[in-house]
Symmetry: C2
Subunit: 317 residues, 2 copies
């Protein structure tokens, strides 16, 4: 192990994801410290024994001194402000994020001149809870953690980010920013939109409808319990990809409506939906084994493997 | 206890709901027997010690002799055929059903001249599994069981149906057929439609999207794993009510699309959806205490109480 293999990790934002990462990284043996905008949140973390302050320049100065891997764990609307301070106080640190969209983060990173040390990330996990109180060191175990393989990615920060994800118990899906954003529009942001619409339809039925509601409504609206600001911060920055898949879905639902009205049949929708869920239930992850970071064309090869369902479960060097 | 308080129960159809009812009613002390169209299903039930045959006239003749409460537990498309035999072999038996829509069943019952002994029912429970192998005597425990209070309902069959539901561990929501069907379009049939559409959208993203999918996609598509024929048999007979709420939802989603495109905002949808889910999470069932079957206006009073979130948890006489 070289010095940087388990170097320090500095987590900016101690909400559900950032706070859980503080816990998971500490449990995995990293030296870990962080920052939280609200002093109350920082204090809650400190009361549980985590080294979290509310002074961003001070935290970043310390990160620079420790050559820490910095993890941006704030919602998209707060990213730009954080990057400005990173560019000032810790411009040489390896940098990643756990934000729900990747292209807007990459663009902001570029604007602040920090691309050379940056690798985007996105652990695909969460609950409808938020804040320090909901944090869990096991949140990432068994989860999928998307890690960027965009053109120009450097080996050393990439390796540190992948190692952190693996050490937290996740498997890594290599993906470029635009493809990530289109994929999560389908499997994360559209589910939020449909859950909200379903909750609206159910509540419009009053106490009778809500009283009769069982598993299908409960599960179908679960993520509508998420704080509205958080849902907006997750979905709105991915507007372009979300609009495309929402349009697709309006077309699918409109066709189902027409078929139900004209022929009393939902056959096409139900058959296609069942096939889709079968694809999901039977999807096989396979392990990417033969691509080493730094190999010729390693980024393109990893991107291609990720598109075909490949995951990394260990780092080879 | 009079003789009919725990008389025989005859269940027609030994799938998930009917089979679970055989188990639950037996566990509650009823003499219970039944019929299943497929001989293989009937045999599976017999192997587990349940008295289930594949000869409908014979089963109904026995039901008539035992003055059994007959429970129709087949999908809507098979109801008419079953009713024809009931009218022939057991026209005097108290009759209920566990079918997912109520107005179409009531219309078919009327057509066969069986209304006087009929009370519609619908336990709001199930899984994405089906068939005898999925049956569970505890399926109804803690569930809501809709029981008809339509005009012309008679006290004695109504009391027997309510008692069966309570004995299986459910609470009873009194509701008339048309209001039931509009409510379940919102909280059961629309969830199916949206789950199918979400599964279609996710699968269109290929292995990458399905590989990144986490809780929101898994929960949002859970009911799309249900057998397509069963989903169609549940939703299509309620086409009128489902079309109305699907149209509403297309309008809500279209407005969200327009707002996201024009202003980058999902605020209206997300706020309304969160409020709707809050309504669901905070909905309080209250116990209907002061209405006795047979009282003046008992049906209207029960209907009104059900609309306001009231449930029956015991039978008073």
């Amino acid at each position: 192990m070289t010095r940087d293999q388990k170097a320090s990790v500095c987590v900016l934002g101690a909400g559900l994801i950032g706070g859980s990462l503080l816990r998971a990284a500490a449990a995995a043996g990293y030296e870990v410290f962080g920052y939280n905008r609200s002093a109350a949140g920082a204090q809650a973390a400190r009361q549980d024994g985590f080294d979290v302050g509310a002074d961003l320049p001070a935290t970043l100065t310390r990160a620079a001194a420790a050559d820490a891997l910095i993890v941006i764990a704030v919602p998209m609307p707060a990213v730009d402000h954080i990057l400005a301070d990173i560019a000032t106080f810790a411009p040489e640190c390896a940098l990643t994020d756990v934000v729900s969209v990747k292209a807007p983060v990459a663009a902001a990173v570029r604007e602040h001149g920090l691309s050379a040390r940056f690798v985007g990330g996105h652990p695909m996990t969460g609950t409808s809870e938020s804040g320090w109180a909901a944090t869990d060191s096991e949140l990432f175990r068994g989860a999928v953690w998307a890690v960027g393989v965009d053109e120009g990615t450097h080996v050393e920060p990439w390796t540190r980010v992948v190692r952190l994800a693996l050490d937290c118990g996740s498997v890594v899906v290599p993906v470029v920013a635009a493809e990530h954003d289109r994929a999560v529009a389908r499997i994360s942001h559209l589910p939020h939109v449909l859950a909200e619409a379903l909750a609206v339809a159910g509540a419009a039925g009053g106490p009778l409808a809500l009283g009769l509601a069982a598993g299908s409504f409960r599960d179908g609206t679960r993520v509508a319990a998420t704080a509205p600001d958080l849902v907006r911060a997750i979905c709105e920055p991915n507007a372009e990809a979300l609009l495309a898949v929402l349009e697709e879905t309006l077309t699918v639902l409109g066709a189902a409506r027409d078929s139900l009205r004209a022929e009393g049949s939902l056959a096409d929708l139900v058959t296609a939906g069942h096939d889709g869920r079968q694809d999901y239930d039977t999807a096989q992850r396979w392990e990417i084994r033969d691509i080493r970071p730094g190999d010729h064309n390693w980024l393109e090869q990893l991107r291609d493997a990720g598109l075909r369902g490949g995951v990394l479960t260990e780092l080879r060097s």
